[in-house]
């Protein structure tokens, strides 16, 4: 076998030796990720075509039953229940992302326009919720929306809810929880782009055409697109799959895909069906990202 010597950044070596050394660096990571990420994912795909046994065990029979069931077909005829949950998840996720975008632009501009000395403090204010455990933050809303506290009193006063009851479980509570939980995931990456923005372009745009809409579309959006894209990915993926928020604030009335999957791995113990729902979730997530897809595939979060 022919050994081609190559110069690699000043080191004389052979292609083979270099590959071998590179593989020794990669091997532990590749082993780990293959064993616990790639293979499990493949097994999961296969599992979604299997069947649940009577006691919750997996029967490796190939069938489309899980997907049919997800689409609403059962021995009792057709029901839209599962499709409704899927649809609701998409809507909740898209609305949460959209509202987060609308709130994040003013917020990041506000922080970026603070004097350099204080900016650090404002940035930390934005980072703290980002790193605070989501169970705690969700529970905090659970607490705030409880009966007899100002929010619930106010809603009672307006006649929305009867006296002495809480604001959850409700769609309203889910949206509040979702937006406040996941907004930092959008705002933080967006800020990294806003901070680096060239304001001369915005001024030039304002000089040339007054319309605010065009200033945003032509001068601000293209410059902040990289951060926005990362932010949208970081918001869409978890909001689509969340189960903590709907579980605490939505209840049985407002179930999302996340709860449905969790049920299959919890009380129902129907893993094949859980895998099939997961596949649907992945598909929906990818489709939602398509809607926003822009150039710049690199995910650079920190």
């Amino acid at each position: 076998m022919k050994q081609n010597t190559i110069l690699w950044h000043g080191e004389m070596t052979t292609e083979r030796a270099l590959t071998r050394r590179g593989m020794s660096f990669l091997s532990s990571g590749i082993f780990w990720l293959t064993a616990f990420l790639v293979l499990p994912s493949l097994i999961f795909v296969v599992l979604s075509f299997a069947e649940r046994g009577v006691y919750g065990e997996v029967i490796w029979n190939f069938s489309f039953d899980n997907y049919k069931r997800l689409a609403g077909f059962s021995s009792f005829g057709w029901t839209p229940d599962y499709l409704l949950i899927l649809g609701r998840s998409v809507v909740v996720s898209l609305v949460t992302t959209l509202v987060s975008i609308l709130l994040s632009y003013p917020l990041t501009f506000f922080i970026a326009s603070r004097p350099a000395r204080n900016r650090f403090v404002w940035l930390v204010i934005l980072i703290i919720p980002f790193w605070t455990n989501i169970v705690i933050r969700t529970y905090a809303w659970f607490l705030l929306l409880s009966p007899d506290l100002p929010f619930a009193r106010f809603a009672t006063f307006l006649g929305f809810i009867p006296d002495g009851s809480s604001l959850y479980p409700s769609a309203f509570a889910v949206y509040i929880g979702m937006i406040s939980d996941y907004l930092p995931f959008l705002a933080l990456p967006l800020y990294s782009s806003v901070e680096r923005m060239d304001w001369a372009l915005v001024e030039a745009a304002q000089d040339l055409y007054a319309s605010r809409y065009r200033v945003f579309m032509q001068a601000i959006l293209p410059q902040t697109a990289p951060g926005l894209t990362v932010g949208i990915i970081l918001t869409l993926v978890p909001t689509m799959a969340t189960f903590v928020v709907p579980d605490l604030l939505g209840g049985a009335k407002y179930m999302l895909v996340g709860n449905l999957i969790q049920q299959q791995f919890g009380t129902s113990r129907d893993w094949p069906f859980g895998a099939a729902i997961s596949m649907a979730l992945m598909l929906l997530t990818l489709l939602s990202m398509r809607i926003y897809r822009r150039k710049g595939n690199t995910v650079d979060i920190i």
Binding site: T5, I6, L7, H9, G10, E11, M12
Partner: protein, 345 residues
């Protein structure tokens, strides 16, 4: 040349391609011992690639590098007694100036005492000794460059390679550093190979210049030769301003748009270009050899001289600052045959 200097570095038939792109095409050069040699060319011409090949950071596709009679083509940078001053200086940001300079000695496990002595001496030589405990971030561009040079020189290389070392410096500092570099090279007698795209820098520093265009050496010679007798249009235009005249060969000279010009050497082509530097055109009031009657069209004052633009031919002429001309003045230009260069086709 009576005492032929010892041939130090021979670049023999080097070709380098990156995929389908050919960066260097059959380059042949000889760099003599103790010479200040410059590779001059526009960016992307392959000069840096050639330098990296000499340094042992890049491998040629074919050809050989021979250092004092020994073929070193197959040796990596680690085994070549050649050191480089990188364009970015590439100082180690986590090490002090002293440790930066000591790096090459330490990686070869020199005894501590020797390291201290050599590093101190070299830092003294470059007047950086007082800064030895600082970190690279605390230095100005010019100081960083000195450290980078010290870090290479402390290893007593056969050849010092400098990759566009001035590009990070401002124009004023650059002129000063060029002269210092020249002095340093004379003092040490080490062979320097400089890569630059700045023709003035090449002229100031070098003993010899190789002009490179699109991966090929177009001309190699002393600054005087290259500047005064450019071989072709590229060299003539790249090294400062030149008047290029479209010419047709006739008996005893050429016919051009400014009239008949007699030459010392007959061109080999029937039609081609002749060149003359603006400072070699003399301005007078009487017709003479190769005299051209011309009108002053534009005047630019440059402090030390005037640059005049003449018609016909849009000839550019450089005159002393004390000669006063006005736009519209009628003059006689003399294009001395000895200064007219016949360019290769």
């Amino acid at each position: 040349m009576n005492d032929q200097p010892q041939k130090n570095l021979i670049i023999r038939d080097i070709t380098k391609s990156f995929g389908s792109v050919t960066a260097l095409k059959r380059v042949d050069l000889e760099v003599r011992q103790g010479e200040f040699f410059t590779l001059l060319g526009p960016s992307g011409c392959g000069k840096t690639t050639l330098l990296r090949i000499i340094a042992g950071l890049e491998q040629p596709s074919s050809g050989a590098i021979i250092l004092t009679g020994k073929d070193i083509t197959a040796l990596p940078a680690t085994k070549r007694n050649v050191n480089t001053v990188f364009q970015s200086y590439a100082l180690f940001p986590h090490l002090s100036i002293f440790e930066n300079v000591a790096f090459g000695l330490r990686s070869r496990k020199f005894p501590e005492q020797e390291v201290r002595k050599k590093v101190s001496d070299t830092l003294e030589l470059l007047e950086m000794y007082p800064m030895r405990n600082r970190s690279p971030e605390q230095l100005s561009g010019g100081q960083k460059q000195r450290v980078a040079i010290a870090r290479a020189l402390v290893n007593e290389p056969d050849i010092l390679l400098l990759d566009e070392p001035m590009s990070a410096l401002d124009a004023k500092l650059r002129a000063q550093v060029q002269e210092e570099l020249r002095r340093l090279q004379r003092r040490l007698g080490t062979t320097f190979i400089l890569v630059t795209h700045d023709q003035a820098e090449a002229l100031v520093c070098s003993d010899r210049i190789a002009v490179i265009e699109a991966g090929e050496v177009v001309q190699c010679g002393t600054p005087l030769e290259v500047y005064d007798f450019p071989r072709n249009r590229f060299v003539a235009e790249f090294l400062g301003a030149a008047n290029l005249l479209q010419a047709r060969r006739v008996n005893g000279g050429v016919e051009t748009e400014v009239g008949f010009l007699s030459l010392n050497k007959q061109p080999e082509w029937p039609e081609g270009l002749v060149a003359i530097r603006p400072e070699w055109i003399r301005v007078g009031s009487e017709p003479s050899v190769n005299g051209v009657h011309a009108t002053v069209q534009d005047i630019v004052y440059r402090g030390t001289n005037f640059d005049l633009t003449m018609s016909p031919g849009a000839l550019r002429v450089r005159t002393n600052a004390f000669k006063n001309f006005k736009i519209g003045d009628q003059v006689w230009l003399e294009l001395p045959p000895a200064e007219l260069v016949v360019l290769e086709g």
